[in-house]
């Protein structure tokens, strides 16, 4: 029988905590950026004349056809090339996640906007509001209220997906554990701990979303 060495885990905790901070930062920033960009994409796709909706549809469907790892590699290659100077792995990963998640968020937001009854927009326009005002004050608030649970569920997926920054060597929670695992030869304790932390966080988050959903359904 193998012997667990939990002391190695305790010693590694500060290092793992730093990794978790990076994971949360990346998740939070990519979530804010992704929802903002996703909202813009969704509105443009619904309101602009051709060829804007087609271009946005191409962007959204193209990104959704690609594996996230490949997208991370793409931006790791492209961002420095476009800016003409090297940027850190964090910036390129943040841009990759924002652009990638925006594609998924924009589909959720588009469905949300389309779920608002047409009469709401017509009434707003008839009462003298401009289109942006009608969106800002009438349509989007109603759409977002209905979308909150789905957006949060997508954000839990984003939280899990940030573990993929492992492939560009960014020290998130999982990569930190990976470094300790190979340094101390303690893979079992490290990976079981990482799995347990992710499970507790994600299970309680999705439990919270379910409660929220039940409340808003009433």
């Amino acid at each position: 029988m193998i012997e667990f060495d939990w002391d190695a885990l305790v010693r590694a905790l500060p290092f793992l905590a730093q990794g978790m901070v990076l994971t949360l930062e990346l998740t939070g920033l990519a979530m804010v950026g992704g929802i903002a960009l996703g909202t813009v994409l969704a509105i443009l796709r619904l309101s602009m004349p051709a060829p804007v909706p087609q271009i946005i549809a191409g962007y959204v469907n193209g990104l959704r056809a690609m594996p996230l790892i490949l997208v991370i590699f793409w931006f790791y290659l492209l961002v420095p090339l476009f800016l003409g100077r090297p940027v850190g792995a964090f910036s390129s990963a943040l841009i990759a996640f924002t652009m990638f998640e925006a594609a998924y968020y924009s589909e959720i937001i588009r469905a949300g906007i389309q779920g608002v009854p047409r009469g709401q927009l017509q009434a707003a326009l008839a009462s003298g509001m401009s289109y942006p005002q009608a969106m800002r004050y009438i349509v989007l608030p109603q759409a977002f209220r209905a979308m909150v649970p789905i957006l949060l569920t997508q954000s839990i997926i984003l939280f899990q997906d940030t573990s993929l920054v492992y492939v560009v060597g960014l020290r998130d929670f999982l990569t930190a554990a990976n470094i300790v695992a190979s340094r101390d030869q303690r893979p079992i304790e490290m990976y079981l701990f990482v799995a347990a932390v992710y499970l507790v966080l994600c299970a309680s988050a999705s439990f919270g979303v379910r409660i929220l959903q039940r409340k808003s359904a009433r």
Partner: protein, 240 residues
């Protein structure tokens, strides 16, 4: 932007061979894992609809645990942790005697993870069938196995073809995570071409195009399946 274009590199050996073998590995890995995911997912989905609380709870816990842990962590768990926790002879067999251990670990990780997502869809498909169907089947003398075999499963699967299509596409994309444990699938091969030639732009474009082709092929095939299996009389069956 300073960059020396060289698209010809993609069609030169050994790089063309790299990409072709990458596509093959991606296809074989994703399809094998899908067989596992679909079979296990169906069993778990059915378990969740059974009246027996214990059976249903086992499946619910499976789904919750697999969904709550990122897929990449699962790859590391199956690759680094599970062989150590098994009895020694099994662990040794996994690491030494099994041909291509990375590939089979990836199949297990990907298949068992996707099973929890298939299970949720199968459960939703079965639960969406009106109660009257089950009652009518039971009243006409069918036992529970027959009710599932002839009524619930055929109707349930036909309802969830569109969502299963998106899970099926996801498994091809998710198979790229296998590169972290050393499986040379498409993304890994594109990276290899990049590191040999420094033509990252061309290599990643090739990989992107190949993934899009795979995705489109799946979409076309599944649309056929969808059309042939749609249930007449439902709103989704428009245009018929």
């Amino acid at each position: 932007m300073n960059y020396n274009w060289n698209w010809g590199i993609l069609f030169r050996e050994p790089f063309l061979g790299f990409l072709i073998s990458g596509v093959q590995t991606t296809l074989v890995l994703a399809l094998t894992a899908w067989v596992l995911a679909f079979t296990l997912g169906s069993v778990l989905g059915v378990m969740r609809t059974l009246p027996n609380r214990g059976v249903s709870a086992v499946a619910a816990v499976y789904v919750e645990v697999f969904r709550g842990i990122p897929l990449l962590v699962w790859f590391f768990l199956w690759f680094f942790v599970v062989p150590e926790l098994l009895p020694q002879t099994w662990g040794r067999w996994l690491k030494r005697d099994l041909p291509d251990p990375e590939f089979w670990t990836a199949v297990a990780a990907l298949g068992l993870y996707t099973a929890c997502r298939v299970a949720e869809q199968v459960r939703a498909g079965i639960q969406a069938i009106p109660r009257g169907q089950t009652m009518a089947a039971e009243a006409s003398g069918m036992n529970r196995v027959q009710v599932y075999r002839y009524i619930l499963l055929p109707l349930g699967y036909r309802r969830i073809v569109p969502v299963l299509t998106s899970e099926f596409m996801t498994i091809f994309k998710n198979s790229s995570l296998a590169l972290t444990i050393g499986v040379m699938e498409l993304t890994a091969q594109a990276r290899q071409v990049e590191s040999f030639t420094f033509q990252g732009f061309e290599a990643f474009t090739a990989a992107t195009v190949l993934y899009v082709v795979i995705t489109l092929t799946v979409t076309v095939i599944m649309r056929q399946v969808e059309q042939r299996t749609r249930i007449p009389g439902l709103l989704s069956a428009k245009g018929t």
